[in-house]
């Protein structure tokens, strides 16, 4: 008997060859998507993307972080006289999960590079608008570059500045503070003094609330674990549309595995990961957004948060 070790050798060979830069240059002037980028470069990238693709992309103010940095999202929208449903995707809610913002940037690049030639993407954009927030927890992300690579939370001070950070993914108003959290600021799952206590949480929540009747799908990108998580984390009680949620997620996982053989598990957070409350994914579902998912990208613990940059491309390609 035999076991297939590498599903597609040609792919690996192609990957290890220097890539043609010409496509990337059209979309964003030679930006290297296979490296991790600090926040200033991501800000510059957003400006460049908007400039080079102004027929499709607009950049919008979402809010300000605790340290007063501006949160922007990109709207990818094909001009049309019909109102379109929205798919929202945010990356980087947890500072140390660097593969997540890398994926958002890759995703935008792929869409913009291929929408004219790829029939799937062009049909997508005829009917849907994409809203992408490349880095939600900007202060935390910068802190993980400058001070502590494994930082998770945001950077708001508590207890007279002796303790920092709320876990933004425990801060949303969905069974807030009930399970899988700590009320101690020094914990990595500190849920804050109250739901939506953090400016970053409020900025996202306010916006999504304002558009909720048009949002079809809420995606939030994390690492690591190789999981597609459905609501809920705070209870094992399945959501009303659980069959649909699971079916879509299973198809996504199968498509993902089809690329490089990477296996992803699918299921509700409470069942396959751990109990938690106040997550953005649960909150999005409870306010009425039917399809709400957390993606936990590569890997399963070998590198964990410190995923080597040479895995950015395969991770992003399979997740696309």
């Amino acid at each position: 008997s035999f076991r297939v070790l590498i599903p597609d050798v040609q792919k690996l060979v192609d990957q290890s060859m220097p890539r043609e830069r010409s496509n990337h240059r059209q979309v964003s002037g030679g930006y290297v998507y296979t490296k991790y980028h600090p926040m200033e470069e991501i800000y510059q990238w957003m400006t460049q993307i908007r400039k080079n693709n102004s027929e499709l992309v607009t950049q919008h103010f979402l809010g300000k972080t605790f340290e007063n940095r501006t949160m922007y999202y990109l709207q990818i929208s094909q001009p049309s006289n019909k109102t379109k449903k929205i798919i929202w995707m945010d990356c980087g809610i947890h500072a140390r999960e660097w593969i997540s913002p890398a994926f958002c940037q890759w995703f935008v690049k792929e869409i913009l590079q291929n929408y004219k030639t790829d029939p799937k993407i062009s049909r997508f954009l005829q009917n849907l608008d994409l809203y992408v927030l490349p880095v939600l927890n900007i202060d935390g992300y910068i802190y993980s570059w400058e001070k502590d690579r494994l930082w998770r939370k945001n950077r708001s001070p508590y207890e007279n500045g002796t303790c920092y950070g709320t876990d933004l993914n425990r801060n949303f108003n969905s069974s807030w503070g009930s399970v899988g959290v700590s009320f101690n600021c020094s914990s990595d799952v500190f849920c804050g003094p109250g739901p939506e206590s953090e400016p970053e949480t409020r900025a996202v929540a306010q916006f999504i609330k304002s558009k909720k009747s048009d949002i079809l799908c809420y995606l939030t990108i994390h690492s690591y674990g190789q999981l597609i998580l459905t609501p809920y984390g705070s209870t094992t009680e399945p959501p009303s549309n659980n069959e649909e949620l699971m079916q879509v997620a299973k198809e996504a996982a199968a498509a993902l595995t089809g690329k490089y053989g990477t296996s992803y598990r699918v299921g509700s957070t409470a069942l396959i990961l751990y109990s938690n409350s106040g997550s953005s994914r649960d909150w999005a579902h409870t306010i009425g957004i039917p399809l709400s998912y957390t993606f936990e990208l590569r890997d399963t613990g070998t590198h964990g948060f410190v995923l080597p940059a040479n895995q950015i491309q395969p991770t992003c390609e399979e997740t696309m």
């Binding site: 490296k35 570059w145 914990s187 990595d188 964990g304 948060f305 410190v306 080597p308």
Partner: protein, 167 residues
């Protein structure tokens, strides 16, 4: 469930050689988590079915290289922030993994899930006997609490005697 004792798990595992992917060995294990005990490590019995690859060459090379260093080896942040490990530090990284495995075993319960997140610091300590000694600070990520916990571990290693951990 074993009344008054704890929970026993029977596992069938496949070990894959990190340095020789495609080479795998089956093994079986029994893990007993003691009832109510947060201070004692789970009992583990493992049977490996098949042979593990010989690493004699590489072991000797690493041993001789470290022994011949003029200054004690010191390094930090393995891998670095971008996930890179310089090739000469790869054995140090692997040894840290082994050491972390021991610490994780000693501190695991049915409600924890640990992984080595990063080697924060490693310092070689020269010894008068034949062992190599490395004092590590490893960062362990615990999935449920999401905490990243620093742990000091001292590892002794010798090509024939293998790795031994003292905390």
């Amino acid at each position: 469930d074993i009344d008054d004792v704890g929970h026993k798990y029977y596992l069938e595992l496949e070990l894959e050689d990190v340095l020789d992917r495609g080479r795998s060995v089956s093994c079986t294990a029994e893990v007993l988590y003691h009832l109510g005990s947060t201070t004692s490590a789970p009992d583990v019995q493992v049977t490996v079915q098949g042979e593990l690859r010989s690493t004699e060459e590489a072991d000797k090379e690493f041993y001789n290289r470290i022994r011949s260093l003029e200054k004690e080896l010191v390094a930090e942040n393995i891998p670095d922030s971008h996930g890179n490990v310089p090739p000469e530090l790869e054995p140090i990284h692997l040894l840290a993994w082994v050491a972390s495995g021991y610490v994780i075993w000693q501190n695991s319960t049915e409600n924890t899930k640990f992984h080595l997140a990063q080697v924060k610091h490693v310092k070689q300590v020269k010894r008068s006997d034949e062992d190599l000694q490395f004092d590590y600070v490893v960062l362990l990520h615990e999935m449920v609490s999401q905490e990243v916990l620093p742990w000091q571990v001292t590892v002794l290693w010798h090509p024939q005697r293998g790795a031994r951990v003292s905390q």
